[in-house]
């Protein structure tokens, strides 16, 4: 590559000229890739920050009075009996059954399965699952359950920005997010090149008084630079998450050819077992404890029990390890022989290659280091979202002067207003819409039945109504006066978010809910975010009062 870049560092007048042109090129590149990917990335980062606390949010939104007896309330014998009874009486459970051993906040039953095959890629709005437990007297209790989709909605927003539609076997939004990740990597590199010259001089200075643009620019640079390593890992892991099928396809066609890509799968001929031969759960648990003594067993998933491909996947957790899953490590076993068939996704047992890969997954998910790391990732996600929001506003500000001149000559450029309206509408719209979805999830389900799926419909339609409403509001009002719009929408969004802690206090006072660490955590965080938005709006208001808008009268 050196030939082209050479001119930058060496030689004569040409060198200096090329260097200036390079910086100019990087400036336009940074602007345009930023504008094209910023809004998608804002949604991905904001929702991604929330997924760090998916479990508390889900449990906050799920009424507690409907719980069955969970695994930690059942004795070992009772659990064995429960599992064998379910498998004996419900053939659908033999295809796939989930056994939850942890008393994790999201868990509502010790055993669950689906009567019909579930689609794991899309939101399952009227999806039901069957849940079972034993009553105090040892009777099998089976019920229909509609899992709340709030956490799932947030996860979908994180992965696809909420853009629906399916292509191949994934969601359109996931691929768009992958494309945004390419642009994002270019924005990172060009942004870095642009601030390198000033990096030593003034990277740690925020200049709130000098001018509004300077303040936003300094904050944008400071956060972007300090979290750069995190952003780099996110950029290429998102490309992988979006395009792994295509990459594997290309590897298989052009690199591996006849070579097996995933190695031989076990040497023994497949055997079909009878369900009666299945060893009791307690034997399986004992075997896992022996194989992975330093891990807690969270869940056990058994599948294909009456096929040659019978398998058990055990989800394990230990915050001291980087893990392959978003929350957990896995051990794959044969449910009949109880042999471990795959050690590769268990930290400490994997070989070099899968260890490296697990590390990259783990760094994307923040699945190591426990609670402090979850908070750090939450902050990185929120501050990343701020980088994209401020990036767009910086462009709007820098164009405003140009626009002013042109408007005086009787010409209007609407691109500034359009982007300003889009930025305000999309970014604040997502925040308001998630807040409304959370409120619906928590308060609409207070007195409904657990099998009621209408709430999931309400959550999702509530989300999209508010999001689209905010988008239309942002776009239309910005045509009139984009500065006032930004400031008003910040205020209203802040107030909407503040309803979460206020409603929490009210429902506590009315006795609808009990005080818990989870509710305090969720509601306090919402309060801080809401107050931050209100504060941002007040700041903007003070700024425009100090510097009245000439263009409003044009």
């Amino acid at each position: 590559m050196s030939a082209g870049v050479n001119g930058v560092t060496t030689k004569t007048r040409n060198g200096i000229k090329v260097r200036g042109e390079l910086l100019k090129m990087y400036k336009s590149l940074h602007t345009w890739v930023g504008i094209c990917s910023g809004l998608l990335l804002f949604i991905g980062f904001f929702a991604g920050a929330l997924t760090m606390f998916e479990e508390p949010i889900q449990s906050w939104s799920t009424p507690q009075q409907h719980q069955l007896r969970l695994a930690d309330q059942l004795s070992t014998d009772e659990l064995d009996l429960l599992v064998s009874q379910v498998l004996a009486e419900h053939p659908a459970a033999r295809q796939e059954i989930q056994i939850n051993l942890s008393s994790d906040q999201r868990i509502t039953a010790p055993v669950s399965w689906h009567e019909a095959e579930a689609d794991h890629h899309a939101l399952d709005l009227d999806g039901h699952e069957r849940q079972a437990s034993l009553s105090e007297s040892g009777e099998l209790v089976v019920r229909d359950y509609a899992p709340g989709q709030l956490a799932e909605l947030i996860d979908q927003l994180h992965r696809s920005a909420g853009i629906p539609g399916e292509i191949g076997h994934d969601i359109l939004g996931v691929y768009l997010m992958g494309v945004a990740a390419f642009l994002y990597s270019i924005a990172l590199v060009s942004g870095l090149v642009l601030i390198l010259p000033t990096i030593i001089r003034d990277f740690v200075t925020l200049r709130p008084e000098k001018s509004r643009k300077r303040f936003w620019l300094d904050a944008h640079n400071l956060i972007g630079l300090t979290s750069l390593p995190f952003h780099i890992v996110i950029a290429f892991s998102v490309v992988v998450f979006a395009f792994h099928d295509q990459f594997y396809g290309a590897l298989s066609k052009t690199v591996y050819g006849e070579q097996p890509m995933f190695g031989g799968r076990g040497g023994q001929p497949p055997v079909v077992h009878q369900i009666e031969q299945l060893p009791p759960l307690s034997e399986l648990v004992a075997k896992v404890r022996q194989a992975a003594p330093e891990f807690d067993i969270k869940a056990i998933e058994m599948g294909g029990l009456e096929t040659p491909r019978a398998r058990v996947r055990v989800a394990l957790s230990n915050p001291d390890y980087l893990t392959r899953g978003a929350r957990e490590a896995y051990l794959v076993m044969n449910p009949y022989s109880l042999e471990v068939t795959n050690w590769d996704v268990l930290p400490g047992h994997e070989d070099g290659w899968s260890g490296l890969v697990a590390g990259m997954f783990g760094i994307h998910f923040g699945s190591y280091g426990g609670l402090p790391m979850q908070w750090l990732y939450f902050l990185l996600g929120i501050s990343g979202a701020f980088v994209f929001y401020s990036g767009n506003l910086l462009w709007v500000e820098s164009r405003r002067k140009k626009q002013q001149q042109l408007e005086q000559n009787g010409r209007r450029i609407n691109s500034v207003r359009l982007l300003s309206g889009l930025t305000t509408g999309v970014c604040l719209g997502v925040m308001a819409a998630v807040a409304v979805a959370m409120l619906i999830a928590r308060y609409a389900s207070l007195h409904s039945s657990v099998a009621d799926t209408t709430i999931n419909g309400l959550i999702v339609s509530g989300y999209y109504l508010v999001f689209l409403g905010w988008l239309v509001w942002g776009l239309l009002a910005s045509l009139w006066d984009e500065r006032r719009t930004g400031q008003q929408m910040l205020m209203v969004t802040g107030l909407v978010v503040l309803v979460i802690p206020l409603a929490g206090l009210l429902s506590l006072a009315l006795g609808w809910s009990q005080l818990s660490l989870t509710s305090v955590g969720v509601e306090l965080t919402a309060m801080v975010i809401g107050l931050g938005l209100v504060y941002g709006s007040r700041r903007l208001a003070a700024k425009s009062a100090a510097r009245p808008l000439e263009l409003a009268s044009a």
């Binding site: 040409n14 290429f236 992988v240 990459f247 591996y256 890509m261 190695g263 590769d344």
Partner: protein
């Protein structure tokens, strides 16, 4: 060529196209060479997942190397040339270079 040498050209469309098409072929070729000749060879257990990640990492690197090149044409020569070389070596690796 001496006149064009002193000029830096943005060539947005050509550079983007080079980054995407020959850029991907080069990333795939390099990942393929790593798969065959890198540590462990082609049949190392679980290496395929790492190789897949490598494509993404290399592709993003290549995309970012294209834009500071002097012109779109120059980018096409470099990236296209390297892509062809990498695929040629990969062919060698697949047909008998694997020791």
């Amino acid at each position: 060529m001496s006149a064009s040498k002193s000029q830096f050209r943005n060539d947005w469309w050509l550079k983007s196209l080079v980054a995407i098409v020959p850029g991907f072929v080069l990333a795939l070729g390099l990942a393929g060479l790593f798969a065959w000749w890198g540590p462990g060879g082609i049949d190392a257990n679980n290496k395929v997942q790492f190789n897949m990640w490598l494509i993404a990492i290399l592709w993003l690197l290549i995309i970012n190397l294209v834009f500071p090149l002097r012109s779109g044409w120059r980018a096409l020569q470099w990236i296209g040339g390297l892509a062809i070389v990498s695929q040629g070596l990969l062919y060698l690796a697949r047909t008998g270079g694997a020791a």
